[in-house]
């Protein structure tokens, strides 16, 4: 049964998904992994699934070491948050901007969905999924990733 979300819940969840960008762009792998519950999981833009704290941390460290991870900024759209059984679901658009010798360019657009649960008094991400944008003729909500996004699109 879906639970009620207070304004405080919604603000806390919005900050978690905003912090994602800050951690990614700063190369803060530990901070990024702590956004997840210990048994949380994340599917990245390449379709790879990382499960549990150790895999998430290793995945984030590996990404931060990629040359393509440098000079990027994650720019998120407005976040939709709804109560679901056992927690909450958040969703927003994500844009990755990349610095090039010619200036800034848009590297990717995506639709990001986060399932969250309140654990020990704090909201944590249980699972994060991603699909590409624009979505073309897609009209079904919450579909699984379609592939075709870039390796750095997380």
């Amino acid at each position: 049964m879906a639970e009620h979300l207070s304004a405080e819940d919604r603000l806390e969840i919005a900050e978690i998904v905003s912090r994602w960008s800050h951690c990614e762009d700063a190369g803060d792998a530990e901070g990024w992994a702590r956004l997840f519950a210990p048994d949380g999981s994340c599917r990245n833009g390449s379709g790879k699934l990382m499960r549990g704290h150790a895999e998430l941390l290793e995945g984030s460290r590996s990404r931060a070491a990629l040359p393509s991870a440098r000079g990027t900024a994650h720019w998120m759209g407005g976040t939709l948050i709804e109560p679901v059984a056992g927690g909450a679901r958040a969703r927003h658009y994500g844009m990755i901007l990349r610095r090039t010798p010619d200036g800034l360019s848009i590297a990717s657009l995506s639709d990001r969905i986060y399932d969250l649960r309140r654990t020990d008094g704090a909201w944590k991400i249980m699972h994060r999924d991603i699909s590409r944008l624009p979505s073309g003729a897609r009209t079904q909500e919450n579909e699984r990733p379609q592939g075709g996004t870039r390796q750095n699109d997380r």
Binding site: S6, A7, G77, G78, L80, M95, L109, L133, P134, S135
Partner: protein, 141 residues
């Protein structure tokens, strides 16, 4: 007495719901979900595009969104980004202003297609905030 003094104050929950309404608009616009897009307006809601006659009433709004998706295939490769949302109370409900950036995908590349503003008059209908009037405006031209 000014309009501001007789407006009912908006709670944090009101403002969050209105912010989410404005964000949800992009999802339905970008997936061609005409029924869901129309449901974001009040039954007598209006949408005013730039230099176009207003579309009035939910049935007409849904039909307008269906035609847009069917007749303009270029919008299937477009995503709308919303930013700088400002919300204030009005005697009738609420008003909001926001920026909107349209991004087109061209193969593996992306292009900023347009920048516009949105001016909204909002009302509560059946306990939910909805657009009573949504107007597209020029942004810094």
């Amino acid at each position: 007495m000014t309009a501001e003094t007789i407006a009912r104050p908006l709670t944090a929950a009101d403002k969050i719901e209105i912010q989410e309404l404005i964000s949800e608009y992009s999802y339905h616009e970008d997936t061609g979900n005409a029924a869901a897009w129309g449901a974001l307006f009040t039954e007598d809601g209006q949408f005013c595009g730039r230099n176009k006659p207003p579309v009035i009433g939910r049935g007409n709004l849904v039909a307008f969104a269906e035609r847009r998706w069917r007749d303009k295939p270029q919008v299937h490769n477009r995503a709308h980004w919303v930013s700088n949302i400002l919300i204030r109370a009005t005697p009738e409900g609420a008003a909001a202003q926001s920026y909107q950036m349209s991004i087109d995908r061209d193969g593996a590349d992306f292009k900023i297609a347009d920048l516009t503003g949105k001016e909204d008059e909002l009302r509560q209908e059946n306990g939910r905030w909805r657009f009573h009037l949504r107007r597209v405006v020029e942004l810094n031209r």
